[in-house]
């Protein structure tokens, strides 16, 4: 069952064709990687799926319904959560509070309820807090709950951002370069977490440059180059694909 369907998506920025008729699907419960040289259009694709940008043409279907053109907060309500290439935590809030924001789509208390501090909102707050702590335990970071996000180490911040996305209880998780800037130990920890997330039933679509990670944990890989899809296959197939090799390593001199 394909949970995400990208169909003939194109996006242009002035003179640059960032994406050119790209199509692929993501199967539910799998980990799919999106790779390609810099400038291939990977983050643009993420921005299109998460609603930051609107495609010039084509369709994006999530669980069968079109989501292109929806605003980011609406996309989140549909069940898609994301992390960012450059960490976008809320700097002056604690790690726990950052993750609690992820529960926003699953809670209701509005302005009036908030101002009057009604009993049901207190209950809801406790619930939000509890669930967020649970996620921190799942990721093994419950120790830093009250630390200010700013003060955490880079690797820890990455995990908090992951936790925030998980708090949305997404059906699809978009990870934008989740291990960028992490050392080998942190990378393998992150890899374990991503697999754990898949085991929990969440589909993962990730953009990455770390080939080892990609080859190890992905079920399928899509390769983009200059805005076009040049391959879509299982990891083994991608490794042997001559087009892919050409794009990454360049042509062999005759």
């Amino acid at each position: 069952m394909s949970i995400l369907e990208i169909r003939d998506i194109s996006k242009r920025f002035g003179g640059l064709q960032a994406l050119d008729n790209v199509s692929f699907t993501v199967q539910q419960g799998s980990i799919k990687a999106l790779i390609g040289p810099n400038g291939a259009g990977k983050t643009t694709l993420f921005n299109l799926v998460s609603g930051v940008l609107e495609p010039d043409s084509g369709a994006i279907n999530f669980n069968g319904s079109p989501i292109q053109g929806l605003k980011p907060y609406q996309v989140a309500a549909c069940g898609i959560a994301r992390t960012f290439q450059l960490i976008r935590l809320f700097p002056r809030m604690s790690a726990l509070e950052n993750i609690m924001i992820g529960r926003h789509v699953h809670s209701r208390a509005g302005f009036v309820a908030g101002m009057l501090n009604l009993p049901w909102t207190c209950r809801e707050e406790k619930e939000i807090r509890g669930k967020s702590l649970e996620i921190m335990r799942f990721l093994g970071i419950e120790g830093m709950a009250e630390s200010e996000a700013n003060s955490l180490a880079y690797g820890q911040q990455r995990i908090v951002e992951l936790g925030r996305a998980l708090a949305c209880e997404p059906k699809l998780l978009l990870l934008d370069e989740p291990v960028a800037g992490l050392n080998m130990r942190e990378t393998s920890e992150m890899a374990k977490l991503i697999v754990k997330i898949r085991t929990a039933g969440i589909t993962v679509l990730l953009v990455e440059h770390d080939m080892t990670l990609v080859m190890n944990i992905s079920d399928e890989i899509v390769v983009l180059s200059y805005g076009q899809k040049i391959a879509e296959d299982k990891p083994l197939g991608i490794q042997k694909n001559p087009e892919v090799i050409k794009v990454y390593l360049g042509e062999e001199d005759a």
Binding site: I101, G110, F111, G114, R164
Partner: protein, 360 residues
């Protein structure tokens, strides 16, 4: 945590009571008048603190909302409808109990809207106006936003200054008292001075309580997230433009209520309440109190407004607040501007890892 946040409010309430007792005891009951007025200005300030401090939206025109509330209630409660007694609208209004027959200062009979109805009408109109201009204004950034709010405030000022019906340069006066419930009246009568002091500060305490609750709620968290990283907040399901608009409207309502009550307390209102200088004053107070610091703004606001109202700044009133604004912005622009600084630097150095720089 819950106990903590109410503790401050409790201490504040104690201070309010203490100040009244001390002032009365020291025989300086006239001081209570200025303190009461300072209280109503504080309503504007706490609403604006929420807007500026927690969502990072600057408003240089909030005096406009204060004036809209004040002028509307002033106009409605003093405009004589007797000449229109037979019009359908008037008879219908009379049936709903919104009108009252009374005598004005000169003993003439007038038929006007009664204060409660006028207050509700003023608040509703304020909400409508804030809704309409909020949406486009909040889409603007940086100094475009500042200019737009400045423009809004100036328009309100020019309109009240230039409209005969609203008293033009002299403003409106002879505003009747506002009877909240039997026994509690907002008016300038000397005998009710202490009562009015508590009405004003009671309102402030109520406002602070509501806002404190809000800040600690899901909404407050969402607001802080918008302030911290708006795009990320959006991606996490926070409808950022809706929230910003709601806060704008909420802060406008606070300002308008302050305007309504102060008008009834003073028995009048003039165009100066809508002036840019008043708006700048509010911004300066919030700046010096610490952008997202409700208590800081409240205390600084009370002190500065009290001194200003008692005339301690003499003819240099505006200069003092202008000076404060410049000095604070130069030396210690916390909160709102810190984050803009952060974003500004990030934008300029996209490839460098994001680290917040300390301002000098």
């Amino acid at each position: 945590m819950a106990r903590n946040k109410y503790l401050r409010i409790a201490i504040f309430t104690a201070c309010v009571i203490a100040i009244q007792i001390i002032t009365s005891f020291a025989g300086k009951t006239p001081y209570l008048t200025q303190l009461t007025m300072a209280g109503y200005y504080s309503l504007v300030i706490i609403g604006l603190t929420l807007l500026m401090g927690y969502t990072g939206q600057i408003s240089l025109g909030h005096a406009g909302f204060f004036a809209i509330g004040g002028y509307l209630s002033a106009f409605l409660t003093t405009y004589n409808l007797i000449p229109y007694k037979d019009k359908l609208v008037v008879t219908w209004l009379a049936k709903t109990g919104a009108l009252v027959m009374r005598q004005d200062l000169y003993g003439r009979d007038i038929l006007a809207v009664q204060p409660w109805a006028a207050c509700i009408a003023a608040v509703l109109v304020t909400i409508a106006i804030a809704y309409v201009i909020g949406r486009p204004v909040l889409k603007l950034k940086g100094h475009y936003l500042a200019m737009a709010t400045l423009g809004f405030g100036t328009i309100v000022y020019k309109i009240v200054l230039g409209t005969g019906l609203l008293g033009a340069a002299d403003g409106l006066s002879d505003i009747p008292g506002f009877r909240l419930i039997p026994g509690l009246e907002v008016s300038g009568k000397a005998a009710l001075r202490i009562q009015n002091y508590y009405i004003a500060w009671g309102l402030v305490i109520l406002g602070v309580t509501l806002l404190t609750n809000l800040i600690h709620s899901r909404v407050g968290r969402a607001l802080r997230s918008i302030h911290g990283a708006e795009d990320a907040a959006n991606a996490m399901g926070v409808n950022t433009s809706q929230y910003k608009q709601n806060i704008f409207i909420l802060s406008a309502v606070f300002a308008a209520v302050g305007g309504v009550f102060l008008t009834h307390f003073n028995g009048g209102i003039g165009p100066s309440e809508a002036s840019i200088m008043k708006s700048v004053r509010y911004v300066a107070i919030i700046a010096i109190g610490g952008m997202a610091n409700l208590w800081g703004a409240l205390s600084m606001g009370t002190v500065l407004n009290f001194l200003s109202l008692r005339g301690y700044f003499g003819s240099y009133d505006d200069a003092v607040f202008g000076f404060i604004l410049v000095v604070i912005m130069l030396l210690a622009p916390e909160g709102l501007l810190r984050t803009d600084l952060f974003r500004d630097i990030r934008k300029r150095f996209q490839h460098k890892p994001s680290q917040e720089e300390q301002s000098p």
